[in-house]
């Protein structure tokens, strides 16, 4: 059979996805995700439309809104090459601790946007007693403030004892990103392994907390490694996948990297949706730089069903109201806190 004949008889990946993902709710496998990532630019609108249909079919129209804050910034001993908070690079980010009143204010600001999620984040390898104590006191203070927003944490790698402690504090979701494909991880981080992160995620899942695990697109991974990463996340079966796009941070090894091209970002979002039909897929850092305002809307109509509003950990985001207005214009209701409790 000639290559042309082979091409004619080969089923189109979007036709396959319509039947497999949209109708049956079964995510694409690695080879299929790779095919999607290789689709030409002129098929992106068709791809985004299908990803949106899949999201609506298996997740519904609601959008989960979240705010995040860094409780401990900078001075991290790890060498994640994308991160301005590593103490190993010459980034201008200096160490800072957020006090309890500041944490309460941040949670209040987040709740005021209508968000149902508030994530407390620390730049650490894993939490020590001081940090665990700060988180415990912070959660108590947020509740004492009359704020019943759902609280998530992202505190690095955990021991079983720390997992149990977070469950006991009422932390309902834990974020720990695998960041990239297993095959690419050693070129991104050398101070710990992909498997160590995986171990924490399995403990979190086993303890009954919701697992939030995603990564960053644009760290020098190949398209094949993007497909690999999508199916590795699917294997983990997380409740939520935050999708970040690299912000080349001054002073980090990735300072000179190019920002992900908008069309590639949209293709990747849609491909991840087709690999993870039932998962919360959240717009996270870097979307402002990679996609701009128009691209953000296209992403919301291309598979995304959750969003971080306001600022990030060390970077600024769009004003929260701008995203809330966008959701309103797109007729996408914000998931109410009452539905998550």
């Amino acid at each position: 059979m000639t290559a042309a004949a082979d091409e004619r008889t080969k089923a189109d990946v979007l036709d396959l996805a319509r039947e497999q993902v949209l109708e049956r709710g079964e995510g694409l496998d690695e080879a299929q995700v790779l095919e999607v990532l290789a689709l030409p630019d002129e098929r992106i609108p068709e791809l985004l439309a299908l990803a949106h249909e899949v999201r609506m079919r298996w997740c519904g129209p609601e959008v989960e809104v979240e705010g995040i804050v860094s409780v401990k910034t900078g001075g991290c001993p790890e060498d994640c090459h994308f991160c301005s908070q590593s103490g190993q690079f010459t980034s201008p980010v200096r160490s800072a601790w957020l006090d309890i009143p500041g944490l309460v204010r941040a949670a209040r600001e987040t709740a005021a946007t209508g968000a149902s999620e508030f994530c407390i984040v620390a730049a650490v390898r894993g939490p020590d007693k001081r940090l665990m104590s700060q988180v415990r006191d912070g959660i108590k203070a947020i509740r004492a403030d009359g704020n019943d927003i759902q609280i998530a944490c992202s505190l690095g790698m955990l021991s079983q004892e720390q997992v149990d402690e977070l469950v006991e504090m009422g932390v309902h979701r834990y974020n720990h990103n695998l960041e990239t494909a297993r095959s690419h991880f050693p070129s991104v981080v050398t101070t710990h392994s992909w498997e160590e992160r995986w171990d924490t995620l399995r403990m979190v899942h086993a303890a009954g907390m919701e697992v939030c695990c995603g990564g960053i697109i644009g760290m020098g991974e190949t398209v094949e490694q993007r497909a690999e990463f999508a199916v590795q996340l699917a294997e983990l079966n997380p409740h939520e996948v935050p999708m970040n796009f690299l912000i080349p941070q001054p002073g980090t090894p990735y300072e000179g990297f190019d920002v992900v091209e908008g069309r590639d970002a949209l293709r990747t979002i849609a491909a991840f949706r087709l690999a993870l039909p039932r998962t919360i897929l959240r717009f996270a850092g870097g979307r402002e730089l990679t996609l701009g305002d128009l691209g953000a809307e296209q992403g919301m109509l291309g598979g995304i069903n959750a969003i971080i509003v306001g600022n990030y950990l060390t970077n600024l985001g769009r004003p929260a109201q701008q995203d809330l207005d966008m959701l309103d214009e797109l007729n996408m209701p914000i998931k109410a806190l009452s539905e998550t409790l």
């Binding site: 201008p92 600022n311 600024l316």
Partner: protein, 67 residues
């Protein structure tokens, strides 16, 4: 007067990475008065920055210097 993003004199050199879309997502990192690195806390709706010599600034204040 110093650039709050790179700490170099605001009126000299190349500040291509300090302005536009890139500058818009960066809080100030350097004191505009003395170029010391500041301790910066980003929160969901703003930021605060402390210079050991010139004190605190917040997103509610006006910060000059290529911001």
């Amino acid at each position: 007067m110093y650039c709050v993003h790179c700490g170099k004199p605001a009126a000299e050199g190349d500040h291509v990475r300090c302005v536009g879309a890139r500058g818009a997502i960066e809080p100030p990192r350097f004191c505009p008065d003395c170029a010391r690195r500041m301790v910066v806390q980003v929160t969901p709706s703003g930021w605060s920055a402390r210079c050991s010599r010139h004190g605190d600034r917040t997103s509610y204040d006006s910060v000059s210097g290529l911001d």
